[in-house]
Symmetry: C2
Subunit: 382 residues, 2 copies
């Protein structure tokens, strides 16, 4: 009943780590994963160790080495999952063998997302009209969208494709950008008609931290301010999180997302170098504001998001803190705070909540609640 | 759609403050309240200012004074709601005029709980078979059980009476004691059959703080320890929270709940005096442990609850803190923390969450999810 089968779209840093983290969550079974060139499906559960090792890049063209990595089991896979996908190490992936296709479990494809959709909708149709004994476990209950962040409407359009195909499960994204939420809200009726439940912004921020803010707000009858302040140390994780760093650069004064997207890797690195590798961000356009407003916690204008990124150290340059200031029913003003230990990595704080919210979303979906949910609407599940 | 009509059983400190706090929550309409001698029902919404003023005691036998208090509106009522019910001030309530009955909105009764049940079930039957135009707003969506804590099974037995009578809404308690949860779990099937949703332990602790712990746990794939540490300064609020203090005394070495229940007020005060008014508690039997285990966060044995009660000051003697220690997927150990500002009163931290969880429970109930929910299962609503 509480068992959940899920798929991952994308096997970059977030997708790979989601697969990795799921190994610690017995109720969560990854059954499908894809990247640009390949798709791996196994309704009994993917061999995550093999998949992580294969997509790690430096074993892609060496079957013997791959077998060793696979036999290495959880520990090996977990270690390797923390490194980058094919951009460091001695052997770089190229051509048809790149990424998921390097796994024994994968097939090459030119239409990876459509393949996952076909798999998810055929299973869900079988499930919903199941009188012929097809196992309910063939259903894909949730899909984590961990695709590169192209156009603003890329993820909403991916969701449209799932809805149009008749998918009746849960989609989860870990996007940070406020304007995507509006695009998803525009689709709420369509998702409801389809029987689809979309959980948006379910990573560290907004996901984790807006959830914490929504809890912290419960002391107050009126919330005056929510301040979200994050610290990320990304020295060894830099290669694996280039997309995140690029997104962050778009928040610097003088840059926007189009600038950041158009910049070469060298240009991004030049900006980082200008700041000696430590960049402070203020008033970021993070969806925390929109999501807290839609959950009724406060006005979007009362939410501020900022933080410090340090690519020269794995230590966090500042402690990630959520501060919620409000007025109590008995007339006092106070500030409740939520702090993440500096020892918890950004990766841990993205992927734990993402899967926690996926589980919460599946529970909502199974209860017949469809549409668009923000993290502050849902208590994530352990 | 999001409008919620609720009733309060009991108009002691918690019941009165719940009515008070609901005035700051536009979606929440209190439609019924009762105490031992009376019941007040108005499906269009009770006049909370009048009810609080009337039940405040020192205006009970003075209609002119009562009218003034009623006209005083929110501010007056809110101020008065913070004082005790009839145990201080010049005029003490006695006899048939005591409590709710002193309100213009109330009727005397010898069966207050049954009266509320009758009101709640007739409305819910009308609602569920409504083809005759009876307004859906006559439904009582949720009932906050804020009754004195008699026998361990008192609240579960009250719930039985609602279920037996065919109530199909939400019940919420703010109990702290672990063993009640088991009694409620034993009734889960009966509640499900009835279409009733019970949210248990929805006050400050376990409610607020286990919710925060469940969020904080999301960084980790394995939670090693949850430490809940509270501070309460209860000088001016002492009279209004005698029941809570008595419960706390039961947690001291050498006492149990039966001892505490059998003690006179003077004996309780003697214990407090022995400690010079500042009592530290360790390893309390709070339901936080059971509730975090049932939410899958950690083993009950890994949860510790303690705190300091100071009846000599309104300042908190220590800062209420939830510390969640665990292991991340990438092998680090860290401690995430959640702290309540010392300026937020125990009262604010009980009643905000209690109503927040009531709203969350109604949402579950409307989606057809019945049975027993702990706070860590639900994101409270603002």
């Amino acid at each position: 009943m509480d068992e959940i089968n899920f798929a991952v779209l994308g096997t970059g840093g977030i997708g790979r780590r989601a697969l990795d983290v799921s190994r610690d969550k017995p109720q969560l079974t990854p059954v499908a994963a894809c990247d640009r060139h390949g798709v791996a499906v196994d309704h009994d559960g993917l061999d995550v160790a093999e998949l992580l090792a294969a997509t790690e890049g430096n074993v892609a063209s060496d079957p013997e080495h791959r077998d060793v990595a696979s036999d290495g089991g959880a520990a090996t896979g977990a270690d390797e999952g923390r490194r980058s996908a094919g951009e460091h190490g001695g052997v770089k992936q190229t051509g048809a063998d790149a990424g998921v296709v390097a796994s024994d479990q994968a097939e090459p494809t030119e239409t990876p997302i459509d393949d996952i959709i076909a798999e998810a909708t055929s299973a869900s149709k079988q499930h919903s009209s199941s009188t012929d004994g097809i196992a309910a476990s063939d259903r894909i209950d949730g899909v984590l969208i961990a695709l590169p962040n192209f156009e603003h409407d890329f993820v909403p359009r991916v969701a449209d494709r799932f809805a149009d195909a008749g998918y009746t499960g849960v989609l989860v994204d870990v996007l940070k950008r406020s304007r995507v939420i509006g695009m998803l809200d525009d689709r709420e009726a369509a998702f409801e008609d389809a029987g689809m439940t979309f959980v948006c912004g379910a990573g560290a921020t907004p996901g984790f931290l807006t959830g914490a803010a929504a809890i912290a707000a419960q002391s107050f009858v009126e919330v005056e301010e929510v301040e979200i302040w994050w610290g990320v140390g990304l020295r060894s994780g830099y290669e694996d999180n280039r997309g995140t760093v690029r997104e962050d650069v778009a928040h610097l004064p003088g840059y926007d997302i189009d600038d950041a997207r158009a910049m070469s890797d060298d240009e991004i690195e030049a900006v980082i170098d200008e700041h000696d590798g430590v960049i402070e961000f203020e008033d970021m356009e993070h969806a925390d504001d929109v999501l807290l407003e839609r959950a009724g916690v406060c006005d979007a204008a009362d939410v501020t998001v900022g933080g410090i990124l340090d690519v020269t150290s794995d230590e966090k340059p500042t402690t990630t803190t959520v501060s919620v200031t409000g007025r109590t029913f008995d007339g006092e003003t106070g500030t409740n705070t939520f702090q993440l230990d500096d020892a918890t990595s950004m990766e841990a704080n993205v992927n734990g909540p993402a899967l926690g919210y996926l589980k919460a979303g599946v529970r909502r979906n199974r209860a017949g609640e469809y549409g668009v949910f923000g993290p502050a609407d849902l208590m994530p599940r352990f």
